[in-house]
């Protein structure tokens, strides 16, 4: 077995902001009852901040420093999002703190060697430069250790492990302070020092725990690990470092979430059609935004372009402090090359409709269909564009005498001097048809239709409700 380890030292910072480098940022941890700097970004480092510094001192040094407490919950979520992406490369994934381990033996064959695999992963990576710290080793623990201490180490052979690990300090191997104390006591500082001792001697002095660690490290003993199971739904939150009050500025952080989603989808061979966005405010209910695609996709640029256009319709009650992307239902993408890179008429068509809908809203882009009903107000309905017509109503010759323009519903006409009125007195020009319909559904109509004209010469389609004697306008001739 070969394990590929990825170490994400920036993750505690990254979970807080998409633009983590724009302001000096540090995360803190509790250490002996006080807050100390756990790690900071490059801007903070330039300001003199370094890991281990007590928080008050850091703030005194750099008053503009943005500080967040380390949030392991978010870090775990972010790791899982990465795992969702990595699932396409290996189905055996395990975690160490800030580390992801993939069993890569099978993938190496599939991708034609390690360098091909790594190159493919880097080309595909869900976030910028997040795969910098990696190592390949025959045991998971060695991969984990090397990714942190010797990024870029690539060891296929157990025999070469010892030499590579030799000068790594022992404190990297275990967090157990008692064991570390003991090692120091007997003058051992590196892994090489331990491995140089005769085994029975070391076992007697250091105890079984360290021996087990060393055996697992060198792959002499199995290292059973809980394997990660991918979740069924995608849900990820991003805390914004600075509040965003202009909808258009949400595009930048959205990029991160969408990249992560697309990674998740690629990992599962899936695609989405509906995305749910939530924008959280400090003192208002979260704003929700649904984003629909005409066809399932996992192309980040495509999804983002539609998101950008949806933003134009978004109204925010206040500044956004956090955003969330959820996808409850995704589907398996039919793996045809053409699906991922759609081209040709059909796909162009969809992109065009999506663009319109993203900017104008779903309801603003529609088709129409004939419905089987004599009552004009029920003889048609809106439908989705491209929706294939079900067996609609039959078209008769008298439909050709009906007008092309219809009002959404019949409109009661006022009477003046006993005659119907619409922008002037209406002249009845022609009896059109008698309609008796709908007695079966309780909405029966008994109408006499006429073509009428108003003083301006406009021709109207009106009817008299025979029971009430009221006049209604139903449409316009053109």
């Amino acid at each position: 077995m070969l394990w590929l380890g990825f170490y994400f030292p920036q993750l505690p910072l990254d979970v807080f902001a998409a633009d983590g480098e724009a302001v000096p940022l540090a995360v803190t941890r509790r250490d002996g009852g006080r807050d100390v700097i756990d790690r900071c970004n490059s801007l903070a480092r330039e300001g003199g901040i370094c890991a281990g510094m007590p928080l008050p001192g850091a703030l005194a040094l750099l008053p503009g420093l943005q500080v967040r407490q380390r949030d392991r919950n978010r870090e775990r979520q972010a790791m899982e999002a990465l795992a969702g992406w990595a699932w396409q490369y290996s189905s055996r994934i395990s975690f160490d703190p800030l580390l992801m381990l993939l069993e890569a033996g099978a993938s190496l064959k599939l991708f034609g060697g390690f360098s091909a695999l790594l190159e493919q992963m880097r080309r595909d990576q869900p976030c910028m430069d997040c795969l910098q710290h990696w190592a390949l080793a025959p045991s998971p623990m060695a991969a984990s250790l090397l990714a942190r201490a010797r990024p870029g180490a690539c060891i296929h052979d157990r025999g070469r492990l010892v030499e590579q690990l030799a000068d790594i300090p022992l404190q990297n191997l275990t967090r157990n302070s008692q064991a570390r104390e003991l090692m120091r006591g007997i003058g051992l500082s590196s892994i090489g020092d331990c491995l140089g001792l005769p085994r029975p001697e070391l076992a007697r002095r250091a105890g079984p725990e360290l021996m087990l660690l060393l055996d697992r490290l060198l792959g002499r003993t199995p290292d059973p690990r809980p394997l990660w199971r991918p979740p069924e739904v995608f849900s990820q939150r991003l805390l914004l470092l600075s509040e965003i009050s202009h909808a258009s500025a949400l595009l930048f952080p959205a990029r991160r979430l969408v990249a992560s989603l697309c990674g998740f989808l690629r990992g599962r061979g899936g695609a989405v059609q509906h995305l749910q966005w939530r924008f959280l405010h400090r003192d208002a209910e979260p704003t929700r935004m649904e984003q629909g695609l005409l066809r399932p996709s996992r192309e980040a640029e495509h999804i983002l372009e539609l998101f950008r256009q949806s933003l134009e319709r978004l109204e925010l009650p206040g500044a956004v402090v956090e955003m969330e992307l959820q996808v409850a239902d995704w589907q398996v993408l039919q793996e045809e090359a053409g699906d991922l890179f759609p081209c040709g008429q059909g796909a162009r068509d969809e992109k065009f409709l999506e663009r319109l809908r993203a900017r104008l809203g779903n309801e603003a882009v529609r088709g129409i269909q004939v419905q089987a009903d004599h009552r004009p107000e029920r003889a048609w309905r809106y439908c989705k564009p491209m929706e294939t017509t079900e067996a609609g109503g039959r078209i008769s010759a008298w439909h050709a005498r009906q007008p092309v323009w219809l009002l959404p519903g019949p409109q009661l006409l006022s009477l003046r001097h006993g005659r119907p009125w619409h922008e002037g007195e209406l002249q009845l020009r022609e009896f059109s048809q008698r309609m008796e319909s709908g007695w079966w559904d309780g909405n029966d109509v008994q109408r006499d239709y006429y073509r009428a004209s108003n003083p301006a010469g406009r021709q109207l389609w009106i009817y008299r409700e025979r029971r009430s004697g009221n006049w209604f306008l139903q449409g316009f001739f053109d």
Partner: protein, 207 residues
């Protein structure tokens, strides 16, 4: 030199940019018959393809002039886009006039900028056989943009405007003014390619 000038002249004549006042003829740019012989004669053979046509009227009339065109274009596997139509297009009445409602794409946008944006998107998408836009007002510059989009995409565009726009200059290839007349429409050609405008004719169309 003279031959060159002749050739250049010929080209302009062919495009209908230049025409001989004595014999208003047909342009050789693409047109689609309007389905009304009398109208075709007055507008150079039919509706200009890849160009903007303006239809001006006091009451938003003139749509029924396009019914034969819509029926004809229904045969193409492309959308017939309606941006901000004044009322609901009545599906059975359209079908009865051999217009395939499956090709109808209704777009409702806010008046002004958004409607123009949608029309331009539709024109440039390459997926529409015809784009119709109903607008209350529009600037000369915007009309120019629509004409340009129609030209570049080779798509037919029709812009319905209130009559006040008659006074406004326009780069549209064809401009008609419509007034109601009996059971049909009276159309006056305000501007056309390769010929004088000003002719007025009765068209017995009714939708």
């Amino acid at each position: 030199m003279k031959a060159e000038a002749q050739a250049g002249l010929g080209e302009l004549l062919r495009q209908g940019v230049l025409w001989r006042g004595s014999s208003p003829g047909q342009t050789q740019t693409a047109v689609v018959s309007s389905g009304f012989t009398a109208l075709d004669e007055q507008i150079g053979g039919g509706w200009p393809e890849g160009a903007l046509t303006e239809i001006l009227s006091r009451q938003g009339l003139g749509f029924s002039l396009l019914l034969p065109l819509l029926a004809h274009l229904s045969r193409r596997q492309q959308w017939l886009a309606w941006v901000n139509p004044p009322h609901v297009p009545y599906a059975p009445a359209l079908e009865a006039r051999r217009i395939d409602t499956a090709r109808v794409l209704l777009v409702r946008a806010r008046q002004g900028e958004q409607g123009l944006w949608a029309a331009e998107q539709a024109l440039r998408s390459g997926n529409c056989a015809l784009v119709m836009l109903w607008a209350e007002r529009i600037s000369v510059a915007r009309i120019r943009r629509l004409q340009l989009a129609a030209e570049e995409a080779g798509c037919m565009a029709v812009l319905f405007l209130p009559l006040q726009h008659r006074q406004q200059a326009s780069v549209a290839a064809l401009r008609l003014q419509i007034t109601p007349a009996g059971n049909g429409l009276q159309a006056q050609v305000l501007k056309r390619r390769a010929g004088w405008g000003g002719r007025s004719l009765y068209i017995p169309c009714c939708g």
